[in-house]
């Protein structure tokens, strides 16, 4: 194990402790609810970012979340299966669909891939709206149960009825997923992804099977998106046709673009900051899309590289200031 890996493990543990303390520190149920949904958004943003690092910008990310949400909700509430089976089936089906769709469409690049995934997302939305049984058609599925309690031998069981108890499974799933994606990106896979997105011809010519890398990233990202959909049904207790639309896919893209694509902190920062903006804007909700839209445009026109690049520029300036003051002394 390299020294940097020890550092990474230590920072994961610190992060986990901080995340674990949040429900104890935040007493307000309203704010805890917001933090929980931010965690789900982080999961979606990070998984989308992982796909984007291969150079494939997708507008169908929300479709996989809706597949996960519908499969889990239908298995649990219509067919009476346990939450665990619902969760596993949801992720498995998201993975299968992603494999098929990815295999067919990932050879298309650039703008055409974007358009194909947009079309796929809309087909999924219309499909769920069409199927009355078991997906509830245009009305969706309402009044979903909380996840099954986990029995502890001799100590009773942990239930997930209150907002505070629901926070923990969602935090743990999001944390683990982000760690998995972070480890993958820090490994050789991340290097290959950067190579593919910068010069796919070159990557192919040095013997990298770019299709395989793109497909793996797409399937993995979509599985995490499916997981996020399942978590969404736990928090919101319902899944509607309007829950995961094209609008949502573009919002996840917004998280990545505004946060910055350079590393995993970008989508996380983007999701947190834009959710906070959205909470602040709640009294003037009608203006929210205008501000979101202007932010999105600003992110590509004025601060290319998102908030991350702003932070890096600021750090560069501070460091050079310190160095200069040292020199003049």
């Amino acid at each position: 194990m390299k020294r940097s890996s020890y550092f990474a493990v230590a920072s994961y543990i610190v992060l986990l402790v901080i995340l674990g303390l949040i429900p104890i520190l935040v007493d307000n149920q309203y704010y805890l609810g917001i933090i929980t949904s931010i965690l789900i958004d982080i999961l979606l943003a990070v998984s989308l970012w992982f796909i984007i690092t291969t150079g494939q910008v997708t507008l169908g990310h929300a479709a996989f979340a809706s597949i996960g949400a519908y499969i889990s909700a239908a298995l649990v509430s219509v067919y009476g299966q346990s939450s665990l089976i619902g969760l596993l089936a949801a992720i498995a089906i998201a993975a299968i669909v992603a494999t098929i769709i990815g295999y067919i469409t990932l050879r298309i690049t650039g703008i055409y891939f974007l358009v194909v995934t947009l079309a796929f997302g809309e087909i999924v939305r219309i499909f769920f709206g069409m199927v009355e049984h078991p997906f509830g058609g245009l009305n969706g599925l309402m009044n979903l149960p909380a996840p099954d309690p986990i029995p502890l031998p001799g100590l009773g069981a942990i239930d997930f009825v209150s907002k505070r108890s629901l926070y923990y499974p969602i935090m743990i799933f999001t944390f683990l997923s982000a760690v998995i994606i972070h480890r993958l990106y820090r490994s050789q896979i991340g290097t290959v992804h950067r190579g593919i997105s910068q010069a796919d011809n070159l990557a192919e010519h040095v013997g990298i099977n770019i299709m395989a890398y793109k497909l793996k990233a797409f399937v993995l990202g979509s599985m995490f998106s499916g997981l996020a959909g399942v978590l969404y049904t736990y928090v919101n207790k319902s899944i509607l046709v309007s829950s995961f639309t094209l609008e949502q896919s573009t919002i996840y893209l917004l998280y990545v673009v505004v946060g910055g694509e350079a590393n995993i902190a970008g989508p996380i920062i983007g999701a947190i900051i834009l959710n906070i903006v959205s909470v602040i804007l709640r009294p003037i909700q009608a203006f929210e899309p205008i501000i979101y839209g202007l932010l999105l445009i600003a992110a590509v026109v004025f601060f290319r590289g998102g908030i991350l690049s702003l932070v890096q520029n600021a750090r560069y300036h501070v460091l050079s200031l310190i160095r200069d003051s040292h020199l003049t002394k």
Binding site: V57, I104, T105, I108, G110, I111, Y112, L114, V115, V116, L118, A119, F120, E122, I123, I126, F127, G129, M130, L246, T250, L253, L254, V257, A286, F287, E288, P289, I290, Y292, G293, L294, L295, L296, I297, A299, V300, V301, R304
Partner: protein, 286 residues
């Protein structure tokens, strides 16, 4: 009786198909000159429809005159958007898409604030209807079809017979060579963008007397016009014409005989064409 059931969707589909051609022409024009897939294209359609609602429906200006005025209004908004938002990122794929998404949100939300969230209808300009082979078709639709055909004809003449149109073709084929021949790419580009937006606005104005007008109507139209240009071949005017007619007619039969699942059609077209024949029916190599 059975003939009527088969003929009615054909006539309605032809009319909406011809109008779709106009929107798709605007989209494909902007794409081939500027290399921008303008995702805010549907919003310009919506703005055109609202312009007509106010100019013709509420101020009672002559409909044809109002249509011209609304085209000019939408073109000016388009020029503003191009100069301020698209110009800094031109030539880059992902940033232009993102700017388009941003504009889509801004324009739609602004329209909801200004015009309200309720769907609005305007009084029909031409009352009455004609009966043709037992099929009843309203005069509004017939006029919409005629105006659309005229507009497509004007566009065809403009692109293939005028100097500016040839400049547009040259840029679409090869930007740099066109610039070397002395074509002012920047000026033709902005004209093309304005014209593309004006076409979307015109289509909105043509559809306004027939359908309800609503601030969120842009996205459907955007998707349909993307499907049309992909089906016909990106950058091809005859392709857009064929694509528009095919989509209009098939969609019309679909809604008559299948109902709700027919809304899957544009998306299926996009996916199937891009997978099986990415150049579209009439397109050049991508």
């Amino acid at each position: 009786m059975t003939g009527e059931i088969l003929l009615q969707p054909l006539l309605y589909g032809l009319q909406s198909g011809v109008t779709y051609i106009i929107i798709a022409l605007g989209l494909t024009l902007i794409f081939s000159i500027m290399n921008i897939l303008n995702l805010a294209h549907g919003e310009f359609y919506m703005l055109g429809a609202f312009s007509i609602l106010y100019l013709s429906g509420l101020l009672h200006i002559n409909y044809i005159l109002a249509l011209f005025v609304s085209m000019v209004i939408v073109a000016l908004i388009g020029i503003f958007c191009e100069r301020v938002f698209f110009r800094p990122v031109i030539g880059e794929m992902a940033p232009t898409i993102i700017v388009g998404i941003g504009l889509m949100w801004v324009i739609r939300a602004a329209a909801q604030l200004i015009f309200g969230r309720q769907p609005r209808g305007m009084a029909e300009i031409w009352q009455g209807s004609l009966t043709f082979l037992d099929v009843n078709i309203s005069e509004s639709r017939i006029m919409a079809g005629i105006i659309s055909v005229l507009l497509v004809g004007v566009m065809y003449f403009f692109v293939y017979r005028t100097k500016l149109g040839r400049a547009i073709q040259a840029i679409a084929q090869d930007r740099e060579t066109a610039a070397l021949q002395g074509i002012d790419i920047d000026r033709v580009g902005i004209l093309g963008f304005a014209l593309g937006c004006a076409l979307a606005g015109a289509a909105g104005g043509i559809m306004a007397p027939i359908f309800f007008i609503d601030a969120t109507m842009g996205i459907d139209v955007l998707v349909k016009s993307i499907a049309i240009i992909i089906l016909g071949g990106v950058g091809s005017i005859p392709g857009a014409a064929i694509g528009g007619l095919v989509l209009g007619i098939v969609e019309s039969y679909g809604h008559t005989f299948i109902g709700y699942p027919a809304s899957l059609l544009p998306f299926l077209i996009i996916i199937l064409v891009l997978i099986c024949k990415p150049t579209g029916l009439m397109g050049r190599k991508l």
